[in-house]
């Protein structure tokens, strides 16, 4: 394929993904408010549009129009850079997530086949781990550049928390890689296509149950989401590392938290819940194009369910204290992930010898 075709394809895919992600992030703010309201026996925002649908527009508009206050002694370059890193990293991780299988358009008798992934790198999962490690910079730099002791403390606590849980995240990913036999994300999703015993879908949550639990807990800690909410908890440190931010920079942090949540859900779906695999879809007898569309729909539905899980857990359990959090990360999650790798490896080895 020539360079212009590749470039156009890439730009269209990137444009679509960025647009959809930003819209979904804005509406996720509203979704969280509505879901939390329903859990608490009340209606959420319902004045601004039907069912409050224009509330996101109002929120983003408010953040644009607010004055951008920067502390006098703050390092202005770093102060501006930190939220950009946070949001940029959260969205970059979407580049390797497969939304669906190949999709084929037939326009004017010519078949155009596209792979529904922005970047088909052969290191797949390693890219995701690298990006989440970069995400720590956003928080640390924001805490440091605010010239405020309490923001610094919040930033340091957040980065310590994120670093501790990245280890268990990486180790649980090794379990998935052992089962799928490849680092590439599209191959991991292809490997989740069959059925156990004829009717249980071969999603990685079945063989890797404890790996899934470790990964999900580590995702909660990576995205600074309750119960691991200490760095940004209001009663703890005013607002933690984003105390000194206002206006659109705060908006970027705000959106970055939800974008991280979407990314974490997308990665959990891809690695453990079968990605875009829709079980039993071959019995419906649809045309290949409709199957591709249905698979994209399945991916979106699974991501939505995982995001709902994130939101409901936030309103269900109380926050961890910092020492309990570190205890959990190093003394419980890390040994569990290591044990997961050992047992997975043993089972695969024994399978090879038995067959």
């Amino acid at each position: 394929m020539d360079a212009t075709a590749i470039a156009i394809e890439a730009i269209v895919k990137i444009g679509l993904v960025v647009l959809i992600t930003l819209t979904v992030v804005a509406y996720l703010v509203l979704a969280e408010r509505k879901v939390s309201a329903f859990i608490q026996n009340r209606n959420g925002p319902n004045r601004v549009g039907p069912w409050g649908l224009f509330q996101s527009v109002a929120d983003i508009g408010k953040l644009f129009l607010k004055e951008d206050v920067v502390p006098d002694a703050a390092n202005k370059f770093v102060h501006t850079l930190a939220p950009l890193i946070s949001l940029g990293v959260a969205m970059s991780t979407f580049a390797v997530v497969p939304f669906g299988d190949m999709i084929t358009f037939t326009i004017g008798g010519i078949d155009y086949t596209y792979k529904l992934m922005i970047a088909d790198v052969n290191i797949g999962i390693l890219y995701i781990l690298a990006m989440t490690s970069l995400g720590v910079y956003g928080i640390t730099l924001s805490g440091w550049s605010s010239n405020n002791k309490y923001s610094l403390l919040g930033g340091l606590r957040a980065s310590a928390q994120m670093i501790s849980y990245e280890l268990s995240m990486g180790l649980s990913i090794i379990g998935v890689v052992l089962v799928a036999g490849s680092l590439r994300l599209d191959e991991i999703v292809y490997a989740q296509g069959g059925y156990y015993l004829g009717f249980i879908p071969q999603w990685n949550i079945v063989p890797q149950f404890f790996g899934c639990i470790t990964f999900v807990v580590a995702s909660f800690a990576e995205t600074n989401r309750l119960p691991f909410d200490l760095p940004e908890a209001e009663p703890e440190l005013v607002a933690g590392y984003h105390t000194e931010y206002s206006g659109m920079k705060f908006g970027l942090f705000f959106l970055a938290e939800y974008a991280n949540m979407i990314t974490a859900s997308a990665v959990i779906t891809t690695l453990y819940l079968g990605g875009w695999q829709a079980p039993f879809i071959e019995y419906l007898g649809l045309s290949p194009f409709m199957v591709s569309v249905a698979q994209i729909g399945t991916f979106c539905l699974k991501v939505a369910l995982v995001i709902l899980f994130f939101i409901v857990v936030r309103w269900t359990i109380p926050r961890f204290r910092y020492d309990q959090l570190m205890n959990l990360g190093w003394k419980v999650m890390l040994p569990l992930a290591l044990a997961n790798i050992v047992v997975t490896g043993l089972v695969i080895l024994l399978n090879q010898y038995i067959d």
Partner: protein, 171 residues
Amino acid sequence: MKNDKYLEPSKEIRTKDLSFWQKMYVPEILKGMTVTIGQMFKPRFTYQYPEVKFEPASSFRGRPVLVHENGTERCVACGLCSRVCPALAIEVQAAETDLDKERYPEKFEINMTRCIFCGFCEEVCPEEAIIMSNEYELVFNSQEESIFGKEKLLKSVEEMKARLDFLRTMR
């Protein structure tokens, strides 16, 4: 000291250990989530305010009103409410009248920005002339509007029946 028995930690400490499944954390979280998600399907208690207004019970202390029977206010301008008001919100000016009660308030003003809705004026009034209604919606556009004179305060006995019955039976 040797005999400070009450300062020693007690040797028998009864603790309730977590069961095996509770120590696993995850089953407990899932149990919690069934409660949380279950609440999503229960009825919601929000009043959609401007369309549906909250009607308080007769024991609610809303804004003070003066009671009138057939156009004549019951107030005899004794000044007790003005004296007892903790926020100094009431101002009364007495004058003579030919009715049996002999006194009537020529000027009766309550400064609603000072009123704290405590109900002392209602408790001290010997004539049951000033009572707390159940209105809570007060909006003014200027400071002059916030000083309520007699025309804004007078309400008939029939309108205030609920509160008057409450005062008769409960106080």
